[in-house]
Amino acid sequence: MWYEQLNFEKPKTLNQALNLVKKNGYQPISGGSDLLINLRQKSDKINTLVYIKELKELNFLKRQDNILKIGAAVTYTNFLKQGNLLPPLAEAISEIASPAIRNIGTIGGNIINASPAGDCLPVLFGFEAELVLKSLNETRILPISDFVKGPGKTDLQKGELLTEIRIKIPAYSYYYRKFGARKSLAISKVSFFGMKLKEENKIRLAYGAVGPKVIRATKAEKLFALGKVDEIPETIYNTVTPIDDQRSEADYRKHLCVKVTDHFLRNL
């Protein structure tokens, strides 16, 4: 493959990695399941791949009280092996692609890739996950909804690595559903994550693959808190923004969002 001409670095520590990724032309590679496929488009900007997947500092899963901390290089398979850390995330991950892709792909890679159909994202938006971003001189902690900007676009700065995903887990119940085109390796057509906070009369609604990034239907969430549940369907229809060449397809996906929300609300 043409990218054999690129250089490769395998730093031993996070600090060494941060010293490398700040250099021009140095690109982090974790599992590589997105990067190796998209490399061609970025090829004029990259001369060295910096391998971060095996760094100890990016490989941990910790639950302290109601805070879950996920190292950015934890693979899907390793997350699933830990069982019940966060059932909705495990559910979303277990539907990703194939076993072989789940052995390669990392949760951090899914976030940085920022695909509108990225399957970890609706659940992480629902939980209002925070991301820990480290560079040599600075640590930033940002809500995921601010960090992800649009298709393939994030607020990651040159020289920064995503090190940790931090999730505060309230008392909740949830419903997750992914509608895909094919049985496996499916890129979502619509994915939905709804959660009900047990201690408050509040819901959170997150939709994947129906906009440039995950959509949180905050207006509909407020209607719920006000008891105006009957206004939610129309609001959802107008909130999600699937882009499609064919009108009917976009309309179908909007209806799918309305229906799946309705199902969630009926089963609270």
């Binding site: 493959m1 054999e4 395998k10 590589g32 997947k53 072989a100 052995n103 390669i104 390796l185």
Partner: protein, 152 residues
């Protein structure tokens, strides 16, 4: 850099950004591992790395330093190959090495998998010829035979 392929230590100065599938096929002449799509969709390039099923078209050498790789040539699973032959699960044969690799990873974890588990385990392996029924049958048969083999 070093890696272990089918139990043998290999030392190479090949580029660390070379794809594993190319290294296996071109440098080591292990051509049982096939390349179909080159994009992680078909599973023809499946190998086992440290016990896990991986698409060798999506991995570069730098990522497998000191790791242990098993290809179809090094897989010691006569029951699986025989079951594939006997049930007619092989037509053109292009998907077969990948299917057998995926089957062996499944059967190592669970020798008597349900149909559903089998479908999940081979969900990353495409076959254009057989329609999967015979492949699923072959995997069930291989599981049974492996169990008999170990209990005898």
């Amino acid at each position: 850099m070093n890696l272990f392929v089918n139990g043998k230590k290999i030392t190479t100065s090949a580029s660390l950004t070379m794809r594993l599938v190319d290294f296996l096929r071109e440098n080591l002449e292990l051509t049982g591992t096939k390349e179909g799509c080159g994009e992680g969709e078909c599973g023809a390039c499946s190998v086992i790395i440290d016990g896990e099923l991986i698409n060798s078209c999506l991995v570069i050498l730098g990522q497998v330093q000191n790791k242990s790789i098993i290809t179809i040539e090094g897989l010691d699973e006569p029951e699986i190959s025989a079951a594939f032959e006997e049930t007619g699960a092989v037509q053109c044969g292009f998907c077969t090495p990948g299917m057998i690799i995926a089957s062996s990873v499944l059967l190592a974890k669970n020798p008597s998998p349900e149909e559903n588990e089998i479908k999940k385990a081979i969900s990353g392996n495409l076959c254009r010829c057989t329609g999967y029924t015979k492949i699923i049958e072959a995997i069930k048969k291989a599981g049974k035979e492996k169990q008999c083999g170990t209990s005898n």
